[in-house]
Subunit: 221 residues, 2 copies
């Protein structure tokens, strides 16, 4: 076959620098405190959507609270396997547990018994580890709704909630409910339909470590 | 604490039906053949972005070719761990291998020796399994560029390429290069900056099985 030559950057660090330069040029970050701004930059990087920043809502203390919890050894509770996989273990300060129950074989039965989605039943299983934990929801609106119910019912409270489920049914509503919570929850959300595991992973990895310009800070590690 | 009551759908199948109803109502699917349309619906579902469909480009035979390859036992070659994790094993017709080298400890050294990104070096490691495989690139533009080079250099050809890397540097260009390929590659891309592991996983899972209305067809399995 004829040789094909493509002209593209092949140096990981150079790709990072150029990406972040474009993001900071095109994204309106003015309203964010410095620590939140750094997290939003990573979320824009993961989605390649600069207008995503306009839909971010947060409590001013969310990044500090989540980072402090991780430094204290708190677990990260995830609603999906893709979120759990994407969290880069080498960035975690205390070899923190990353917990996801969605592939637990007993889950279908538990969900049926409680008339819930499997995702909701998986949230119920978080309870023994929920106090002071970092919650990362990147897929299912029902997980976020269920979390709010569990916190309200038990008084057990996570240190911070990264709540970025995606979808057409309940996603926007669940994030609005988190942002309106009167439970004292620190939160980071992306309002509307958009969300997903990549955004959630980007946020958690950025919260865990300030290291920006390395290949190992990429979503898949 | 005061009880909190949220009104939301908790039946997985009902959530699916309502989601797909909204997608079909809001998305322009007219230009797609039936089998590609079904895949695009899942991609819109994963991203919650109906305008994504407008950026999809494809060869008319891509879904049939990829599905036939899977039914013949072909492996799925992935550029990121999140893509590999999201592929639902129970949907694969032949217990197909899902291969991702990105966490191979030897990769950093190989990449340095070849002056490449780790992602590119991981593509080089696909070569013994590349002929007739299904390629799923959901993260790195350099993986897609490198794939095109490897195919051109070796004449070894995968059955189909789901090429949906995301980002500000090289993503749009790499997908344009795939769509312009004269190597006879069947492809499915989302032009522009948008892409990612969730979209890629949604496409592969939809290609693997026509089963739509089940919880197990959700991205995280």
């Amino acid at each position: 076959m004829a040789p094909v030559a493509y002209d593209y950057l092949t140096d990981g660090s150079e790709i990072y620098r150029e990406s972040f330069r474009i993001i900071r040029e095109e994204t309106n970050l003015e309203r964010f405190p410095d620590d939140v701004s750094r997290v939003v930059v990573r979320m824009v990087h993961a989605s390649a959507a600069t207008d995503l920043a306009d839909d971010v809502d947060f409590t001013p203390g969310v990044v500090a609270a989540a980072n402090a919890a991780l430094r204290a050894g708190a677990p990260i509770l995830c609603d999906s396997s893709m979120v759990a996989t994407g969290i880069i273990r080498s960035r975690l300060p205390r070899d923190n547990d990353v917990i996801c129950h969605i592939k637990d074989p007993a889950l279908a039965e538990l969900a049926a018994a409680r008339s819930m989605t499997k995702t909701m039943a998986a949230v119920d299983l978080w309870l023994p580890r929920l106090e002071g934990a970092v919650v990362a929801i990147g897929n299912a609106p029902t997980a976020l709704f269920r979390l709010l119910e569990v916190v309200a019912e038990t008084g057990v409270r996570p240190a911070a909630v990264v709540g970025i489920p995606v979808g057409f049914v309940g996603a926007a509503e669940s994030k609005a409910a988190l942002a309106a919570n009167e439970l004292g929850l620190e939160y980071l959300v992306v309002h509307g339909r958009r969300g997903g595991s990549a955004l959630t992973v980007a946020a958690v990895n950025a919260i865990a470590s300030v290291d920006e310009l390395t290949n190992t800070s990429r979503q898949e590690g």
